[in-house]
């Protein structure tokens, strides 16, 4: 049986490398145009080539999103753009517009994946896309376990499902709140996340008040305790949301799901869900997370009324950029100091360490690392690797 794919977001080349090193089987990225995260850094063609080379050398794949709602003025660029992506050596494009699907299939040999923007929720729709020649469909996040099973039973293309990250509170693609409130086009990469805003709710012209204001905001998705079921169902790819997320987030989430997937494949009969993993994921979360529609549930327990938590940036202390003569060279991301007990984690390890000494770039011994992106050396007895990360020990 083909092993399930773990698919990670990557907002730039650094995050692509982190995702691959920390256990993703494939990454999805935005190219220079036509992706739904217009305000992420996104990749130039040169960076896509470099990303593909890096990923392919590790046996990983690169998917590129081409999933905006096209306007007339962009039509003349689409064929050339798809051909350039093909020249970069990408492994798939993720598309919602059927004209782009058709053009890609006719003009290139790039496999086409139907984006979740198409809100594909039933087997007749999957069948439609299958007949057009796509190789994979990313299902809408409103599908339940039973619905996914039925789709898998009745169709033949690969099925990809989201397992982690933020949720649209609408059907994907069926929200233009951002267009109306900010003039930023939600279906062209400009979504301003109006669904996270607070509103006043009125019923028959009377203000309805309670402890917290009205919002559309939903909890995030986390399928960490459902991965074995998803593997057994025959899903092909498990997708993590978040092309705008940090390297720390990517490293933490990808490595956590990697552990779960590998543990289950190694010994499915004795696999036991480790509840500590949820805590690891919660430490980089902005909101509570649950299984959402997978359990068939979309009642009040799936909504989020408590504003935004900001935990991720506080935990992440720095990233290893080199290791020489028992000294780790660290690029700081958050304040830490001599005497702190920290964790250094990589794709396959996590070790606890007490910071006894800190040396700055000029060779001076210092007590605190307070400047963003400051480069420091700390003595560490065990070998650490480039892209290992430092976080607060909790």
């Amino acid at each position: 049986m083909k092993k399930i794919e773990l698919l990670s977001p990557a907002g730039d080349l650094e995050r692509l490398k982190i995702a691959c090193l920390y256990g993703a089987d494939a990454v999805y990225i935005g190219g220079p145009i036509f992706g739904l995260r217009a305000n992420a850094n996104n990749f130039t063609f040169e960076e896509i080539k470099e990303g593909c080379k890096f990923a392919h050398e590790l046996g990983k794949k690169v998917h590129v999103t081409v999933n905006i709602a096209l306007h007339n003025k962009e039509l003349k660029y689409i064929k050339e753009y798809l051909k350039k992506l093909e020249e970069c050596g990408i492994d798939a494009i993720i598309v919602s517009d059927p004209y782009i699907i058709d053009t890609a299939l006719k003009e290139t040999k790039i496999p086409v994946h139907v984006s979740t923007q198409a809100s594909t929720l039933n087997y007749e729709s999957v069948d439609f896309f299958e007949k057009q020649g796509v190789s994979r469909v990313v299902l809408g996040r409103e599908t339940s376990k039973e619905e996914i099973k039925e789709i898998l039973d009745k169709t033949n293309v690969e099925i990809e499902c989201f397992i982690h990250g933020a949720m649209c509170s609408s059907y994907s693609g069926r929200c233009v709140l951002s267009n109306f409130f900010t003039n930023r086009d939600a279906n062209r990469g400009g979504c301003a996340q109006i669904c996270r805003w607070d509103f006043d709710l009125y019923g028959d012209d009377k203000n309805i008040t309670s402890e917290k204001p009205f919002t559309f905001c939903t909890k995030d998705l986390s399928m960490i305790n459902h991965i074995p079921e998803m593997i057994d169902m025959g899903i092909s790819s498990l997708k993590i949301e978040g092309r705008m997320r940090s390297i720390y987030y990517i490293a933490t989430v990808v490595s956590t799901y990697r552990k779960v997937i590998d543990s289950y494949y190694d010994d499915p009969n004795n696999y036991k869900y480790d509840q500590k993993l949820k805590k690891v994921l919660d430490a980089v979360a902005n909101r509570d997370s649950i299984a959402q529609f997978f359990d068939g549930n979309y009642d009040e327990s799936t909504q989020y009324y408590n504003g935004r938590m900001e935990l991720s940036n506080q935990d992440f202390l720095g990233v290893v950029i080199d290791y020489n003569d028992k000294y780790a060279i660290i690029e700081q991301r958050n304040y830490f100091k001599k005497g702190d007990t920290i964790e250094i984690f990589g794709p396959n390890n996590c070790l606890t360490y007490k910071v006894d000494e800190i040396i700055d770039e000029d060779g001076n011994t210092i007590d605190v690392v307070r400047h963003p992106r400051q480069i420091v050396k700390i003595p560490i007895d065990f070998k650490v690797n480039k892209y290992d990360m430092l976080r607060i020990k909790r």
């Binding site: 007339n72 004209y99 509170s169 062209r188 909504q303």
Partner: protein
């Protein structure tokens, strides 16, 4: 150019000056003011045929597996009555049209995605003969699409615009979470000086624009448009009668709560 009405009332005589009607079916349609049973559709279809009016059916729900059985039944029943076309959002309907060998036309109505002429032409090549264009594109873009597609074109030029559709029952969820008990009929959300109608019915939650789109002044420029859609949701019957007359007779009007939507306002997406 024909006028097609989304009614606010099951009594269609209110809209007798319209040329065509867009009706939703209970359980398979969303973002409608009223939903009809198949028996009602059958008798309306007969009446409309006798009065030489057109009938379109909106099956614009995001379909799940458990909708498909009823959807097939309805699609087959519609094949036996005189309708002009079915509006679709979910592509399962295109798939089923071929499988079930249905003889009526389809209308590509993916709300916010019908934004360019090449995708129109893709659907035309798949046998879809009508498109209802997005309300988030400009007048210039609408005209370009009309000039570059063989599809029959429709666009909504009057009414509140649906701008959010969710499977979640977002008002009920809020009220349940905070134990709010009320029996209000109409809900609105308020932000930055504007009220936005919000409805959560048994299928979806819908949020509408705060202003009523009014493109009557643009009718001359859109002279090649095949159908003007008027959405009567939230608008008084007498007002809608007047609106139909004005659109029929090109009597320009512009009320205080009207605006031009995105007809002259191009959206942006790169904020740098």
């Amino acid at each position: 150019m024909k006028l097609i009405i989304m009614p606010n009332n099951k009594d269609l005589s209110i809209y007798r000056n319209a040329d065509a009607y867009l009706l939703g079916i209970d359980g398979l349609s969303v973002n409608q003011s009223v939903y009809f049973k198949m028996d009602e559709i059958k008798s309306i279809a007969k009446e409309l045929k006798d009065s030489n009016k057109e009938l379109f059916i909106s099956l614009n729900k995001n379909m799940h597996n458990n909708d498909l059985k009823y959807l097939k039944e309805v699609l087959l029943e519609l094949n036996d009555i005189d309708i002009n076309g079915v509006f679709f959002y979910d592509v399962s309907i295109v798939n089923l049209k071929e499988k079930l060998n249905l003889n009526y036309d389809l209308v590509w109505n993916q709300e916010h995605f019908s934004t360019n002429y090449s995708t129109c032409n893709y659907w035309y090549s798949k046998g879809v003969n009508y498109v209802c264009l997005s309300n988030e594109i400009t007048l210039r873009e609408i005209k370009e699409i009309i000039d570059n597609t063989k599809m029959k074109t429709m666009v909504m030029l009057y009414g509140y615009i649906p701008m959010f559709t969710s499977k979640r029952k977002i008002i009920n969820n809020y009220k349940n979470y905070f134990n709010i008990n009320d029996n209000f009929n109409n809900y609105k959300i308020y932000k930055e000086g504007n009220y936005y109608p919000i409805i959560n019915d048994k299928n979806v939650t819908t949020v509408y624009s705060s202003k009523i789109l009014n493109g009557i002044e643009e009718l001359d420029e859109l002279n090649k448009l095949d159908y003007v859609l008027i959405n009567s949701y939230g608008i008084d019957d007498n007002k809608i009668k007047d609106v139909i007359d004005c659109f029929k007779n090109r009597k320009v009007f512009f009320d205080e709560n009207n605006d031009k939507g995105f007809l002259y306002k191009e959206t942006v997406y790169k904020v740098k």
